[in-house]
Symmetry: C2
Subunit: 351 residues, 2 copies
Amino acid sequence: MKNKKTTIKEVAKKAGVSISTVSLVVNNLPYVSAEVREKVTNAIKELNFYPRRNARGLASKTSGNIGFILTENHFSQAEPFYTKIFLGTEFEARKHRYYVLLTTVAPTRTENEEIPRFLLEENVDGVIIAGKIHQSWIEEVQNRNLPLVLIDFEVSRQGVSSVLIDNAEGIHKAVDYLTKSGHREIGFIGGDIKHPSIKSRFTAYKQTLSEKGIEVRQDLISIDQTDTAIENGFVAAKKVMEISGKKPTAIIAANDAMAIGAIRFLKSSGYMVPKDVSVIGFDNVDAAEHVSPKLTTVHVPKEEMGAIAVKRLVEKIQKIDNVTMKTFVGVDLVLRDSTKVLSSKEVIPVK
Amino acid sequence: MKNKKTTIKEVAKKAGVSISTVSLVVNNLPYVSAEVREKVTNAIKELNFYPRRNARGLASKTSGNIGFILTENHFSQAEPFYTKIFLGTEFEARKHRYYVLLTTVAPTRTENEEIPRFLLEENVDGVIIAGKIHQSWIEEVQNRNLPLVLIDFEVSRQGVSSVLIDNAEGIHKAVDYLTKSGHREIGFIGGDIKHPSIKSRFTAYKQTLSEKGIEVRQDLISIDQTDTAIENGFVAAKKVMEISGKKPTAIIAANDAMAIGAIRFLKSSGYMVPKDVSVIGFDNVDAAEHVSPKLTTVHVPKEEMGAIAVKRLVEKIQKIDNVTMKTFVGVDLVLRDSTKVLSSKEVIPVK
DNA sequence: CTAATTTATCGAAACGTTTCGATAATATTG
DNA sequence: CAATATTATCGAAACGTTTCGATAAATTAG
């Protein structure tokens, strides 16, 4: 069925009403009699009418778009954590009749950094920022009075909502599982420790061990890598195995990439995973199922995070709910092959 | 620096010229004196002016957007082959000052299937379709007189360009490598054989073997899976190992997912990869580096495919080159750990 | 019954650009 | 020198909707 590019004028003519009346019907607005509404609806169908996005946008000062911003390094990262989140936003946005425009910005900010064009052109009605980002980008959005939702990042700033991972719960579940499986020498490796998620995973690791009366041993910890890439997991695991006295029987990594790197180090150094050392990751990216052994990991519902962010943003755009919100998405421990039960009885420290 | 939402009117006033003259300067069009051009440019900078996308769109009957369509199953597939292509389009589109709008459609087509909203709203200037798609979606785009580029798919239809994988070259390189490594019993597993890429990979497999004087054995082939998912690789490899007389020393899979499935079957059945059977995949998705052993595979430059598609489409949109083009992207064999050299001397069949 | 309120329909301005034709000045060609 | 072509600048219509206020009819309340 060919689209004949009809306009609202032709619909009005065919239905015998004014353009204004047609607009009321198209937008499902009141003060149109049932009889007229039916006539207009029929004309719309017969003429296969669909309003143009541009014209609606100009007249109503809206764009129908949501901006999605992330940093360049997150954009190109091998493990598609943020692309899953993006796909989640796209699917949910569609339900609300929004398009999602994707862009990247530099991780740091200099004077002449290019501002996303969709901000300059006023081509988005709200913005989602995924991951850690320089504060000046947040200011750039807020200065334009655009609704903003952050994903996996938070700032103490008025009017910014966040969709966050319940990192503490995830790490708690991981430590809990390990201690219930008989592990006491549990290490932690991480990178980019200033990232709020990594920081809170590390805090939760120490806190949960303390709650269980297990000593937090510094020689089982390595968290000074610049980022959470695979190769930094390799290096961090290497350091832990080198400096630790009594070796860990389990290592919790700040994310799956570092867990994979840790497994690579361990295997290449003659340790067997999980026979000698269990490894747990965080995120549950696709690779977790492909590495050998398959990675036990804390599953983060990435597409759901994207969907929730869209819901929050659309509410802000439509001014349904102006409350600043922090939404924590629950996590689950997915048991695969990289963890081993040492003993079925939880070890209770003797003192 | 706060954006004060200035309009072209204010720029005109400040520069002491007309709106039309400002528009000529903004769009870098001729018939403006150098003196006036400088005055206007200064005013634009001082007022931090940026034209609205909506207004420009309405006036020029353009959207500034490119539509990106793929099927729902491709959208949600675990291995992010098409998301890599999408990311490639986004990066390239940005250079040409286009936004990319992503959507999915059903793999098949029924009467009341929803047409992508960006087509209905005339909100794209051209469309990229990635992967195999029902012909009616192609018609839906062409009926709207929109420029169209297909990725990893082709149809014998007027005016449709394609960015394709040089499947034959990839398979040729894989077979060549294997035969040069001493393999003669080389199997092939595939699914969704009607997909042009898969079909041409299979054809190339047979053809290259024949060129080398190696018999194409039907008992080393399994290609009747419905799609190229991991579990179908498992099943196809199982079938090949069950029905074949002299067992294969190598299996070429139609894609990485099936290669991974094949490795899983082989390992779970007591075979060692590559000691007993070498495995080669196609695509080089992220998982190829994570499976054990790491997968030898034909690398497809996915982001480049996306970038090329955007370039072709932008040319079509701007009517720079209306020629229908097929662009084949080169591929490379990436040697990892899943292939073994049987003998360093290429086996030349004795007859 | 009358006044007040709600419902129904419409005309036209507005949204912010692009672009075409009008007008005039300048440059080139025969 | 005159005719023709090019360059420069501008006014206003157009693009296709939304939406506000005008006008009138219908309904409700006192």
